[in-house]
Amino acid sequence: MQTTAVATTKEIMATVLARDLNDGEWVEVGANLPVPRAGVLLAHLLWGANMKVMIAMTKANVFNEPVIEEFQLITDHRATRWAEAYYIHNDLVENMKFRHKGVFFAGALQIDQYGNSNLIGIGKDYKALKFRGPGAIGVCNATVMNSRFHLVVNAHDKRIFVPKCDFVSALGWGSGGADARTKLGLPGGGPRYVVTPLCVMDFEDNTKRMRLKSLHPGVKVDDVVQNTGFELVIPASVPVTEAPTAEQLHVMRTRIDVGGALR
């Protein structure tokens, strides 16, 4: 690999997600979620030949596709061309066993320090919302039933990272503590990473408070602190987020993101 191309922030974010994925896991490739899509496909193509990839509500394996065409909408029927099986949507949402090996990616309007998140709306009074959100879609369930999930947002500011979510549509670590989920009887490993355009965060083992894990190139600790509405756990030394290797970047740009959505 001789290339010295520099990865974009979105490409770095995708690579962070990819590195967390293991071969054999079940992952959704959402449409209109280009960063998680690229992360999933990067892992699939480079070390996840046996990952089960859900594209447009089908079970697909695109490991041998030279170029994985991108579709803008999750309903695009052309994306079902790779299907080995269809997930009838109610079966998909009602059969939970396969999600033991699943990894999920969620967005949010608001995220608090324990990784609880909100897609319902903004406002103290549910009956008089200041801003009505899109609704929880499948996020409430998918963040419980999958082995773990990552919160991925396209902006890092105090509107998103709030001391307390007005409403919680996907539980993170509740009021904190490693048993926050198990004491409610919930399976699944909960939120692992929070990936933003500034940094990667994870959760402290015992308190499950959000913790700065790595800073994207050029970002300073203070940039994160100033744009986060709660107190983050800041380790003594925070590394720079590992960039994609030349091979990873090459595969991303030539097979996954030919259209350049991440550039």
């Binding site: 509500m57 109610n90 539980l171």
Partner: protein, 306 residues
């Protein structure tokens, strides 16, 4: 011995009906299901017909991820309550603009739930039980903001679960690829969650791109997703501006035109563009053919998958 009389006098009744026959079953205040998924497969001919008839106070049950067909029903003032885990158009409209503003203004009530709760509720109706239990959602705001969802202890192990009440549909409206004359409906592709909506409904009317022979249906019985539609309605391009798998992709230009109109209401409190959209594309055209003429055949012919 004579020949049996029956085959000469009796015959199987065709269930091909007109749009108005189906719409006539809808009464103000009913609970109505609308199939499809975000930007695909909504029964838009029916949706426009409902608006044109001025149906009011509907509880509109969308699909697990509803699109802007629900937004349109809200914009037109047909919906008093919406049951949908999502109302939007993905990149074309991250949140349904009319949904957003009507909820913020208190004009429409939301039955707040996520996809899994949505199917648990429909399944309860299909199973004729008052509720189904679900685990995910424990510890979230759902039972607080939707008082119909109860936190309870399961009677076997005493675990904390949510009880999701049955949502029974008076009528389900769906859009599919084909059916025969007898209500056997098949999709191209998987058909999203339409089967679950059908199973929860007292009556189901399906608009289809085409009616095919019973023999064609019988070539692949596994494809029959809806085996007992109460009526099927001819509706070529009937999902427009949304896609119909195997037939046409969504008409993004038209959807954006709607989104612009609805966004004017949401952001500037200006209903005039929505009124104009409704006049042009819903109230104005005399029937489905007139709607398609308004859209233009050149546009329709451009919506090719390949």
């Amino acid at each position: 011995m004579t020949e049996p009389a029956n085959t000469q006098t009796l015959q199987r009744k065709k269930l091909i009906i007109e749009l108005d026959d189906a719409l006539a079953k809808v009464q103000d205040g009913m609970t109505i299901g609308i199939g499809g998924f975000i930007n695909s497969s909504h029964p838009m001919m029916v949706v426009r017909g409902l608006i044109k008839r001025g149906v009011k106070n509907l509880t509109v049950v969308g699909s697990a991820s509803s699109g802007l067909e629900i937004d349109l029903l809200i914009a037109a003032g047909c919906a008093a309550k919406v049951v949908a885990p999502y109302v939007g158009g993905e990149v074309l409209a991250p949140i349904g603009p009319a949904f957003r503003t009507a909820v913020e203004k208190g004009k429409v009530e939301v039955f707040e739930l996520d996809e899994a709760m949505f199917y648990a509720a429909l399944r309860a109706a299909a199973q004729r039980v008052p509720f189904n239990p679900w685990r995910s959602g424990v510890g979230t705001s759902f039972p607080d903001i939707n008082p119909a969802i109860k936190v309870f202890k399961d009677p076997i192990n005493g675990e904390t679960l949510l009880a999701i009440p049955a949502i029974n549909l008076d009528i389900a409206f769906l859009h599919a690829a084909v059916s025969d004359a007898y209500g056997n409906v098949q999709y191209v592709g998987h058909g999203y969650g339409d089967r679950a909506i059908y199973a929860a409904a007292d009556l189901t009317f399906v608009q289809v791109e085409q009616i095919v022979s019973n023999e064609e249906i019988r070539r692949d019985p596994l494809k029959t997703a809806i085996p007992g539609a109460d009526g099927v309605i001819r509706a070529r391009f009937g999902a427009h501006p949304y896609s119909s798998p195997g037939h046409y992709i969504e008409d993004q230009e038209h959807i954006k035109q709607y989104v612009r109109a609805a966004t004017a209401w949401a952001k500037e409190n200006d209903f005039a563009p929505l009124k104009a959209y409704l006049d042009d594309f819903v109230m104005g055209p005399a029937d489905h053919a007139a709607y398609l003429e308004r859209v233009g055949i050149r546009r329709l012919l451009s919506l090719n998958e390949y």
